[in-house]
Amino acid sequence: MESPYAIEMLNITKRFPGIIANDNITLQLRKGEIHALLGENGAGKSTLMSVLFGLYQAEEGTIKKDGKVVKINDPNDANALGIGMVHQHFKLVECFTVLDNIIMGVEPVGPLGFLRKKEAREKVLALSKKYGLDVDPDAKIEDITVGMQQRTEILKMLYRDNEILIFDEPTAVLTPQEIDELMQIMRNLAAEGKSILFISHKLAEIMAVADRCTVLRKGKYIGTVNTKDTTMEELSAMMVGRNVNFHVDKKPATPGETVLEVSHMTIASKRHNNNAVKDVSFKVRRGEIVCIAGIDGNGQSELVYGLTGLEPLTSGKIILDGKDITKASIRKRSTSGMSHIPEDRHKHGLVLDYSLEYNIILQTYFDSKFTSGIGFLRRKNIREHSDELIEKFDVRSGQGSITTARAMSGGNQQKAIIARELDKQPEVLVAVQPTRGLDVGAIEYIHKQLVAQRDAGKAVLLISLELDEVMDVPDRILVMYEGEIVGELDPKKTTQEELGLYMAGAKRDEVNV
């Protein structure tokens, strides 16, 4: 009798020194189904996929394909078995065309070694028609949208006749409309008999598209449920191990006077000839959290760079606490009461090879508390200060103050940055995606800290891509689209759908701030 399962991973256990990354995990993917794999960061999703791709060998457990036991020693074995994956970060050559990327590695060649592109093109066009994957085979990757790049990745799998398709957090980079399109493509693929494994931590998407869902938590198998028979609350409780308070508890805001005023800010883009930020004006008052929402790449990063001094303004004016800081240096802005939790904690936020204590003083090392008059570091004071903040903000690390930042978990790295930035007692806190890549516990913690800042009468400017965060945390939402602020919304009165329309540029108001 033929097995109903395309691929089965039975009782997989994978240990690393000190931790069990996968503890007796079973995942059975039926033929033609969309199966979600749900879990927080560190739950063991990536390890399990690495085992499936032969990057790691499991100590215990078996993998079956169509009911037969198989041994996967390296990614080539996985390819041979028809397993393909769309990675979160696309593996495409930017300056090649869509077609070149699709055939790369399996190029059809004639006897003399010449490429047979015509053959390949026909196959790609046929596939793209069959599954509704709209792409231009001759466009260069660098010129097309992220959604189209993702479709190229999907075509790459189909071109190789893969039967088992794995999508690793595919919606993180897409607009709400592109997400809908992707969902439809996934349904088409499943209807044609492909088996899909969909890795995600976004519950709404799982409920919308998946047939079944397997949940992992801290390396353990929690269970597999039919999405028809469950609710989002139940799934999240399975994922986190307790009932999560999705809603951020906060009192109504009591805004005071304006602390940060941006008027007519325009910033040139480094990537294209247009301006990344176009004539943006807004105000942030004491005791309120203002959120700038929008899809990634609509000028939010540049806006923050302009605000914090990392990039110069083409025109416009920034007033902080009554002082014009438009031309002030980064250091000057920092000492005048602006704190900045950067978007990328590895790129900007930390010197990863410095110890935790050295990272804690990164913004204040020049203070007479940490540096003596002739320029020697006061190491005792630094250690005391660092120990104090570690205690106060509950930053956990292997060796305390002397731990190398690189050796800390993402959540604790972020906590260290937050400790450093909040300890400066800023008038304005600019927090850019402060919860990116963190687990639910850390997210709750960070949201509480933001609200505490607000309640202490400080101004908070939050830049976020996560819809849940945008709806829950701020008191006011400004939506950014293609470098402009296209709407101001009250999170209590608006809906995710309305927000989505603004974010996608389908709706806009004349905003006079």
Binding site: R15, K332, S334, K347, Y354, L362
Partner: protein, 365 residues
Amino acid sequence: MKKLLKRPGVQAFVASIICILLGLLIGYIVLLIINPQGATESIFKVIQNFFSSKRANLRLKNFGNTLTKTIPLIMCSLSILFAYKVGLFNIGAAGQYVAGACACLYAALGWGWSWLPCMLLAVVVAAIYGGIVGLLKAYCNVNEVISGIMLNWIGLYTANTILSNVKETASPYTLYLDKENPAALLPNIGLDKLFNNATVTIAVPLALIIAVAVEILLNKTRLGYELRATGLNKNAARYAGMAENRNIIMTLMISGALAGLGASMLYQTGYMRWECTQSSVPAMGFNGIAAAFLGGLNPIGSIFSSFFIQHITDGGSNVNTNFYSSQISDVISSVIIYLCGFVLFIKLTMNRMISRSEEKKGEKN
């Protein structure tokens, strides 16, 4: 044992020793291939260097010679490692060394300055010469390796031209410092008597002090904190409001100053004269790269690695010339110096082996 091997300091030391042994082994093989008869004797001559001298006071004198030549090498390796810690590869140290040599020699022979002003001029000129590389890097985004190499050549021919004014008429060498202007020679502070060698000077203790000073500057001061942060993560340094461009220029100026001081510490001992027709940049600056890496990129380690490299180079001149042509000494010492550059590679391999054996252990448990 494994725990010990995991400590970075121990690792650097072990890796350096492995490199030295490998270098000696390959050098020995080269000797064997050329002429198996004298190989064993010669390789021992290389390792022994001054120990092979028969008389005690000659041994001491040769030791002094090695020491004198070690000093500029220490300074050049400090120059390289200082810039390297800030994320810059200052291959221009060789040119900054030349600039320093030119400045102190011309001040001594042309203007008749005494030793200290000559030395300070060498430091200033070399710092400015390094600063050019820094300016180009900071404001025009010119890679420091490219501009460094070009400035090496510019420096060499400029030095040849300038120093031709103070050279002997009959030879391409500059005038004898001890005859023309003995006041420009570095003071011996009694070391000449100790070593029975007039070229051993104040430069020796000074270089040791500077090595310690570099260590302190990098690890215990605010400037060192800033510079290393810039080297480790330029973006984070900028985010923290550090003046990145100023730091780059300052780093290359300090780096240049160290190399220039090294030149002054050799040429002002009277041990060597400048050859105004030389057509290649003195190797000192380049050997500094090997010494810096062999020393585990640690200022104190640089002292020992520089001494070792100079020891081998001098030892190379003792090989039996009946069996080998005289250039063989260069071949052997270059092989060893070349291998010295592999310290990082060996460290990496060691780490990989340790983690692999740990993973295996983890699987067994």
